[in-house]
């Protein structure tokens, strides 16, 4: 709800504002470790990425850490080892399908700054309950241009009431980056009842694609009538909700109207690492974008 409001009011301001690139001079921070991954109960193999941080304006990509020892340990002390694949990505070699309600601990051991000392970074997460997603509906509507409201119907999720969504159009993930993911704090809805028609996002009709600026075309999602659009929904804990929210808020710097001062994104990994290890439990539902009457 608040996201919609921000989009709406920022559109008003966007009409007035212009941008131009500038050079700013900042001190570069020393190298640190950044770790990111999701422990996904809907998958039988898990992965994380381990990289070094880099000066913000560096033209070089963040350097991958290739020689880390990465393990995941269940609360029953079962251990899985993740092997390096490429580009900083580590993947379980054995099958690991995390169980709902169980806790798992990630451990990354590496000498990221070549000081001869192997540093240890750990994080523990709990697999959330599966969302009781019954169906999704796409309702034709209009907000200046034709739109389709994605509306979900689901049972009471209980527990912490934070969720995230990803969308696929005809099988292709159309929200591949973290900044595209949708999150919701559904505290506004009945605590002890089904969610019957929760608006979660809207898609613009692709027929108006050319009426949007390049940036808007990058930011918004477009669909055609007849497309099969799938929602992937997971309940998440508040920590992961905050992390995604902070990433999306901080990605482009401070917002002088609706945001506070720029601040560092809070991690759940210890020992000074950046990033997050989240736990998800996805469920999918699909429906067809209807023809507009």
């Amino acid at each position: 709800m608040k996201t919609n409001l921000y989009i709406f009011l920022l559109l008003c301001f966007a009409c007035l504002s212009c941008t131009e690139r500038i050079d700013i001079d900042t001190d570069d921070m020393e190298d640190k470790v950044s770790i990111f991954g999701e422990l996904d109960a809907s998958k039988d193999h898990q992965s994380i990425s381990v990289n070094k941080t880099a000066p913000y304006f560096s033209k070089e990509d963040n350097a991958p850490i290739t020689d880390a020892r990465v393990t995941i340990t269940s609360e029953d002390n079962e251990v899985w080892t993740l092997s390096y694949v490429d580009n900083g990505k580590y993947e379980t070699t054995d099958e690991l399908t995390p169980l709902e309600g169980k806790k798992y601990t990630l451990k990354v051991v590496c000498d990221y700054n070549n000081d001869g000392i192997k540093d240890i970074f750990t994080s523990t997460v709990k697999i959330p309950i599966k969302a009781k997603l019954n169906s999704i509906e796409y309702v034709p509507d209009k907000m200046v241009y034709d739109i389709y409201n994605a509306t979900i119907y689901c049972g009471d999720p209980g527990g912490e009431r934070y969720c995230m969504y990803k969308f696929y159009n005809n099988g292709e993930l159309i929200t591949p980056q973290l900044s595209d993911w949708l999150i919701a704090d559904i505290q506004f809805w009945n605590k002890n009842g089904d969610i019957n028609g929760l608006f979660c996002y809207f898609f613009f009709d692709k027929k108006n694609y050319d009426k949007f600026s390049d940036d808007e075309q990058d930011d918004y999602l477009f669909v055609d009538p007849g497309d099969s659009v799938t929602i992937e929904m997971s309940m998440i804990d508040k920590g992961y909700y905050d992390f995604i929210s902070q990433c999306q808020t901080e990605l482009h710097g401070e917002n002088p109207i609706f945001g506070g001062p720029a601040a560092n994104i809070v991690t759940n990994i210890d020992n000074g690492a950046y990033g997050y290890w989240g736990a998800v439990n996805y469920v999918k539902k699909s429906n067809i974008i209807p023809q507009k009457e």
Partner: protein, 792 residues
């Protein structure tokens, strides 16, 4: 001696601005001393006069020898004033002597010398004000800069505002206020302002005694004050009149016109963005009414585009004032204001916000030495968001309402003391938000009520002819009353439990605010001033951004939130030149804040029932130097001012508990504003602004998630945005000069940001195939405008 002393003081300043600070001071004092050689001070001292009492019977007329009703006649040496009656006459008992008399009438004032030994029936002639280009509103003495007991106080005249270059042609008193020394806009083009390093919510903004909680139209591009209905504005930086309180930084009083009008007049203007119309009319002999309104019309153009024909984008405001003078000593006035902004997108989503106020004030002069002001008022600010998206119908509303009353007495005790005392009380109703949806329960943030009342007494004491003081106390009791759900938090700001209060007073803060001011008049043209004030603030905005938004909602002190308190020390040297044609001042201030409120990193402030858990309490300080030179009369008028300042905060958990710059810190700021009358028909004016860039937090590193780079930031406000500078120009042409017609009109051409400097509103970050980069987001490039103003 003075120079040496000040140099010694500043030599202990460790910061890098020391050289500039010293240089500025030296320049100022050299300038002062240079001028002092050329000025002949005429010192009139009537306090030693032992002559007998004389009954004066005088008259005030215009140049056509018509009596002026309601003109103010002020005798400087004895601080006494009277108002002319229906025949333009006035009566006053005085000791015989030589007096400086200032006569003011609807925007015009003139100073006369009067020797009562020779003249008992003076006739003062003064121009009355009928031309559009001759509006100078001041009820102040011309040497107020020197003689006033206030430090850090400014009066903004209508003439200076109306001749200033304006963005999109809309004359704006708040934009004029932002040009004063020590005052900064909180964002480019915004209506919010910071005074001496304080937040925008630390300013009390009053329109005819009623609080305006959000003074902006169109997200801050314009203020809510219609220049056609206002008489002027007074800004008090820290040291506000004793009757007022509740804010740490300043009081901005906007006064609407308060004179009986002799005939029906209409004035207005047509601009690119909005038009306005104001009607003033007498109703009988003792009553007059002013009704004014503005309305923007961007939405009318939107409707020409078929894609936006259902969109709405407008603001409007309306003022009404009814003034009834039972006599010149018994006046009743009613004021009303309503304003609204609305943004609507295709009839699907709508956002609106607005203020409304009403006030009723009774002014009664019982005798030459005793008068009373009694009043009550209501203020309301609210916003709403409505969504009609299918399956997502929703209404979100929030508001704050105040019901206030006051009684104020002014008692002159002898010739030397002026006692001001009274009571004020306000009942605040906070409704921080309710969300209603057809399918679900309402989501209501906890409402709060508070009763705030104050007793105050102040004495302005003219101890000798050269030395005056004001001193007083304000005692305020702030009570949380009625129903209130209070959430409690542990030392880590985690929610622990809640308490539901259902009635009565469940929390009280009593605070004493002493205020003292001294002025030592070195001679008729210069003075030294000093003051100390202690201000307390019981309510503040839940907003963490620098610019502010329409969704800002106020929250009050309570069991978890202590009142913010500030100790403010100021000293100043004030000097006028060439019979008050030039005014100069140099002020130094130091401000220390206790229980200062900031918000946690990533604070969730909207629709958060446990918002108080996001507060981080700390301390703050600000200090600075303000230099100002103003030219008040002649073809060339205007001012230049320079501010050197610093503003810092320190709060738990923010910036690792270390001190950091506030968003309102500007090391250097220069404002120049000049207006030159080319001929009776044409006036050109210019405004130039330079300030150090505002503090900001830049990324110093990045982490990679997927294909995106997420910034890792520096310490809070460790860097600064690029400096801000802008030049605006305007040309006003009087179309009706020398034409014998009732219809007076003029046209103003303005260019905002003449050299199209792209001032950073914010810095954003993005990346492309070459890697991350920074972008400057700016709001206004070169912006020409044209406005047509009329009056008849």
């Amino acid at each position: 001696m003075k120079k040496v002393k000040i140099r010694n003081v500043v030599s202990r300043r460790p910061d890098k601005d020391k050289k500039c600070f010293v240089f500025s001071l030296i320049c100022f004092f050299i300038l002062s001393n240079f001028y002092s050689l050329n000025c002949n001070a005429e010192n009139i001292d009537n306090t030693t006069a032992k002559d007998s009492i004389v009954q004066l019977s005088g008259r005030v007329m215009n140049m056509n020898k018509e009596p002026l009703i309601g003109a103010t006649v002020y005798f400087k040496e004895v601080n006494k004033g009277v108002i002319t009656d229906d025949n333009g006459k006035f009566y006053l008992k005085l000791r015989n002597g030589l007096y400086t008399v200032e006569v003011s009438y609807v925007g015009k004032s003139k100073v006369f010398k009067l020797n009562t030994r020779k003249e008992h029936n003076p006739i003062f002639k003064i121009e009355d004000n009928t031309n559009l280009d001759e509006v100078i509103v001041t009820a102040d003495r011309e040497d107020k800069n020197v003689t006033s007991l206030n430090i850090g106080a400014h009066n903004v005249s209508l003439s200076s505002i109306s001749k200033m270059p304006q963005m999109m042609g809309e004359v704006d008193v708040v934009k004029a206020i932002q040009l004063l020394p020590g005052v900064q806009p909180t964002s480019d083009g915004g209506a919010g302002f910071s005074v001496r390093g304080g937040g925008s919510d630390q300013n009390l903004i009053l329109l005819d005694n009623s609080t305006i909680y959000n003074a902006s139209h169109i997200l801050g591009l314009f203020s809510v004050f219609n220049n056609d209905v206002i008489k002027g504005a007074d800004l008090y930086k820290g040291d506000m009149p004793m009757r007022f309180g509740g804010r740490l930084s300043s009081l901005l009083q906007i006064h609407t016109k308060d004179e009986l009008v002799p005939k029906f007049t209409m004035n207005g203007g047509i601009g690119l963005l909005a038009s306005r119309l104001t009607i003033e009319s007498p109703i009988g002999e003792k009553t007059s009414i002013i009704v004014g309104g503005r309305r923007s019309y961007a939405d009318l153009f939107l409707k020409m585009d078929k894609d936006h024909k259902d969109d709405d984008l407008y603001f409007y405001d309306a003022n009404i004032k009814v003034l009834h003078k039972f006599s010149n000593k018994n006046i009743l006035e009613f004021n009303g204001y309503i304003g609204k902004d609305l943004f609507g997108m295709g009839g699907v989503q709508t956002c609106y916000y607005g203020n409304s106020t009403i006030s009723l004030i009774w002014k009664k002069i019982f005798s030459d030495s005793f008068s009373m002001n009694l009043g009550s008022n209501m203020s309301h600010y609210g916003y709403g968001l409505e969504s009609n998206l299918k399956n997502s119908e929703m209404k979100w509303k929030a508001d704050i309402t105040d019901y206030s009353g006051f009684i104020n007495f002014l008692n002159l005790v002898g010739d030397k003391m002026e006692l001001n005392y009274g009571i004020t009380g306000t009942f605040h109703l906070f409704n921080p938000g309710i969300v209603t949806q057809p399918k679900y329960d309402d989501f209501q943030l906890p409402k709060r009520n508070a009763l705030e009342y104050s007793f105050y007494i102040e004495n302005k004491h003219h101890i000798t002819s050269h030395f005056s003081a004001k001193y007083g106390l304000r005692v305020t009791s702030y009570n949380n009353v009625g129903k209130g759900l209070i959430y409690n938090f542990d030392e880590n700001h985690n929610f622990t439990d809640s308490i539901q209060h259902n009635s009565g007073v469940y929390n009280t803060y009593v605070r004493v605010e002493p205020r003292i001011g001294l002025v030592y008049q070195l001679n008729e043209t210069s003075s030294l001033k000093a003051d100390y004030v202690h201000n307390v603030q019981f309510m503040q905005i839940a907003n963490n951004s620098s610019a502010g938004s329409p969704l800002d909602m106020w929250f009050c002190a309570g069991p978890n939130v202590k009142p913010q308190e500030a100790d403010i020390f100021s000293v100043g040297y004030f000097r006028n030149f060439k019979e008050n044609m030039y005014e100069a001042s140099c002020e130094l201030y130091y401000r220390k804040v206790k229980n200062g409120i900031d918000f946690a990193d990533h604070a969730e402030l909207l629709l958060n029932k446990k918002m108080e858990g996001e507060l981080r309490i700390g301390s703050g300080k600000a200090y600075g130097l303000e230099l100002m030179v103003r030219k008040n009369s002649g073809n060339l008028t205007g001012f230049i001012n320079y501010t050197l300042s610093r503003s810092t905060r320190k709060a738990e958990e923010i910036n690792d508990g270390k001190e950091y710059l506030t968003p309102y810190d500007r090391t250097h700021c220069i404002n120049m504003c000049a207006s030159y009358k080319l001929n009776p028909k044409s006036t050109i004016s210019a405004t130039f602004i330079y300030s150090t860039g505002s503090p900001t937090t830049y990324p110093v590193g990045r982490m990679k998630i997927g294909d995106e780079y997420y910034p890792i930031y520096s310490k809070r406000n460790e860097y600064r945005k690029p400096s801000y500078n802008r030049l605006d120009l305007a040309w006003t042409y009087n179309l009706s000069y020398n034409k014998k017609r009732k219809w007076k009109d003029e046209i103003t051409f303005s260019i905002y940001n003449v050299y199209n400097h792209h001032n950073a509103w914010t810095i954003s970050y993005d990346s492309d195939e070459t890697g991350p980069y920074a972008e400057k987001v700016y709001l206004f490039g070169l912006l020409p405008s044209i406005t047509y103003n009329f009056k008849f």
